[in-house]
Symmetry: C2
Subunit: 158 residues, 2 copies
DNA sequence: CGGTTTGGTTTGCATTACCAATTGAATCCA
DNA sequence: TGGATTCAATTGGTAATGCAAACCAAACCG
């Protein structure tokens, strides 16, 4: 444990970091929102598509992961299905459950959009050199909460 | 621009960083959204309140800064005013313009909420020691786009 | 002056998100 | 086994968000 007896100076590193994280978050969200909007995709839809790239979750797991109500997800997936970006399929293990899958069209669109996001943020990330970028990503890692496993039901709180 | 290099490792630092930034953004947004929702404040409202803490912008400047349509801001401010969190006041320089101000109640609520945000993220930021936090904030700085002026005009400029 | 631009609001619409209630499947237990 | 209960997802209702278009008033400019 880091002890508090390090220095007499005030430690404002928490606040400074928080401010930076929040500003960076809004910046990233701004880019995602804008690029999504240019293709009639909301932030949430873009996020879901990104998740579905390498996963095939059930509705309720996805809702939990996103922090959304199940009913919200129902409508969201409805619209995406109507646009041919996602599909529903019965879950093999549980006949009550419904899996969400990305379609080929959805995958294609997603890759294109994430490419645009990369390009849009390149001027920003490019202000660091490769080593700094790696270092930044490394420092960010511990801050990121371990993502809940989507393939597995979170353990019941005791 | 590809070089004829044999032993050079592939530079995936861009993608790794991008992934970290996006995930961190969603994490921060999740916290802000949750804490806002607990007090019936949307993400945008929370953001506006945060901005108004030390600024008194005109409607249109605020809309531009947020990347929102003016009409969106009209409604948003309407609701906030109805709740006593913000006020409108005529701009001194331009009789068409309307300034947005935070009220005392709004300020109080904002401070409380940002305190909660700090607390909620403390476990995450606490996984770094003070020096690492400073370093992370420092590396983040260049990535943040220079924020648009949104010139503070509490006093009459010239 | 008169025409145009700028600042804000209003109205109408789709989307997002929540909650409560419902249907159907799975599970529990007596 | 059967009946009750829990669980997964959808449906219906409401409020908030956000955009676009139409509009008014003030300011700008020839």
């Amino acid at each position: 444990m880091s002890s508090s007896v390090v220095s007499m100076a005030i430690d404002d590193s928490e606040d400074v970091l928080l401010d930076g994280l929040v500003r960076s978050a809004f910046q990233i969200m701004g880019v995602l929102t804008r690029i999504g909007a240019e293709h009639d995709l909301s932030l949430t839809q873009l996020r879901v598509l990104g998740i579905l790239r390498d996963r095939r979750p059930r509705m309720s797991d996805l809702a939990t992961f996103l922090g959304l109500d199940k009913s919200t997800l129902s409508g969201l997936v409805d619209r995406a299905v109507r646009r041919g970006l996602m599909t529903r399929a019965p879950n093999h293990d549980d006949k009550r459950a419904v899996d969400v899958l990305i379609t080929d069209a959805g995958r294609e669109l997603t890759e294109r959009l994430y490419g645009e996001v990369r390009a849009a943020l390149a001027p920003a990330t490019g202000r660091l050199d490769a080593q700094q970028r790696r270092h930044l990503a490394e420092l960010l890692e511990p801050v990121l909460t371990p993502p809940l496993p989507l393939t597995q039901r979170p353990a019941a709180p005791r």
